[in-house]
Amino acid sequence: MAATEKESAKTAFEPLLQFEMEMGTFLSDWQHCDQLSTFMARMISHNRADPVRHSNFLSSALNELLEMSFRSGIPDGRLGCTVYRDGPTERVKLSFPCPSTQRQFYREAVSRTNNGSAYARYLDAIWTELAPSREVILLDLAINFDAEIRLEERPSPSITLVVDLPLEGIVN
């Protein structure tokens, strides 16, 4: 898959912030998504050229990712999120429990974010779907935030999404 090849090329990412939480605790309140994304974005963006607007963008993206793991709804295991930076790009690594039956779904959804039909699929989803699917959320990140998304496969009951967000360029 195209996305996996890029993995080895990028090594300069420095970790900025990391948190872990029991899924049970996370799932106890929907507001956690909003609160965590706002807080993390604010911390991470403080030394960007325009911290207020950078944090606004980043919070949007983080919130969608957190909401996605919230909606996966599996109370066992842990939610983990690490944010790294390399120049103008923030990398978000988000791990959350995912039954093996759903892995294939994520694999396909992620690979569709970087093929030519992504935009058509995105428009079609806005046009036809009542509520956004997880796939649309990934497409939203790829299209509206220029995100590059891939999946880190590990032999564990969790799944890890790696999302590179070149926000500094978009914001300014």
Binding site: D29, W30, Q31, C33, D34, H46, N47, A49, D50, P51, V52, R53, N56, F57, S59, S60, N63, E64, E67, Y122, L123, I126, W127, E129, L130, A131, P132, V136, I137, D140, I143, N144, F145, I170, V171
Partner: protein, 392 residues
Amino acid sequence: MSTVTLSERYRAEFDPNSQEFSLAGVIRPHSVDEIAATVTQLKQAIDAARGVLYINVKRLAQMNNTAFHAFARAFLDACRTRSDIRLVVVTSSVVGWTERMFRHLSNIEPQITVEVYDSKFYPGQTFVEDTSFIPILRTQTKMTWRHERTILPRHGMRAGIHMADICCGIGDFAVLVRKEFQPARIVALDHSKASLAYARDVATNFGITDIEYTFGDASEMLLEDNQFDLVTCRHSLQIFNQPDVLLKELYRICKPGGRVYITNEKNSHCLGEPRAQSIQWTYNEVAKLFAHFEMDVELGPKSRRYLADAGFEDIRVESFMVTNLDGDPQDFADIITAWENVYAGEMAVKRGDPPEFIERFRQGFRDHIFAALHPKGYAGWPIWAASGRKPL
């Protein structure tokens, strides 16, 4: 409960007179049901609309995909059933992602268009965002600082506070405040990209990394409510055609118990000796010239009323006079030269004034400079500093 929290965090309003439906704040529902009432309200607005319905999302700070899809659905359905109306989504250049997201809707439905609300906030905008203003601001801040550094502590400035300087211009004030008073956080906002770029350069050169310079519209800020102990806004209420709108925003971001500090001029009271009459004539004309562009540079003494009307308490007002005796008289003269260039050289020309008028207008500035540099001369520029406390 999350629904309660959610509805507290955003506002939806329909103004039938302007046919404008506006969404503001943070909309991140878990399910569509939580915003069902708002979606219904939107549908009713669409039903009531004739011609064009404006969807104002200028102050929509956050919206998740769940909400976006629900609103998008309502827009797209409306286009199908009402071929007679157009929907214009008005976004702000400040909240970048809203423009990106709503743009897609116009790719689906040509009845939907997206407009980025940007400059043209008020008639005088182009003058004050112009880079020719930069040298003026520089010298002005240097001169006013001598006074303000002693005034500010009476208006809530102290170490460790969280403060915001709105309409910060080239950011010198923030740098000076940071050094003198060591606040814990400084956000400095302006709508001139040129001034902000300049501010960031200056900060970088001084190795300052903790001032948060941000691009924003002071009348529709992205900053959250009740955040700052002190909100400063210097020489800027007077350049908005609706100072009350701006003041409302300053009030909003100020913490209850915190203060909003404003400085403004009364240009017609600039004075000098010798050649007092010519000087006075010109500055009376300055006030009229600004009024022509809907800016009130006579606002200084009205600060008390503005603050009171905006709901502030414990209002404090004081005035000070920047003069040619504050340090180097040449600095004073430089400010006047810069004024002459912009006011006579640009604004009067834009108003269409005849050359004879412009010449006489210029003469007053030259006489003010003459007074400033005269060994026995005196030249002054009065400023009103005022603040009010946001009630607890």
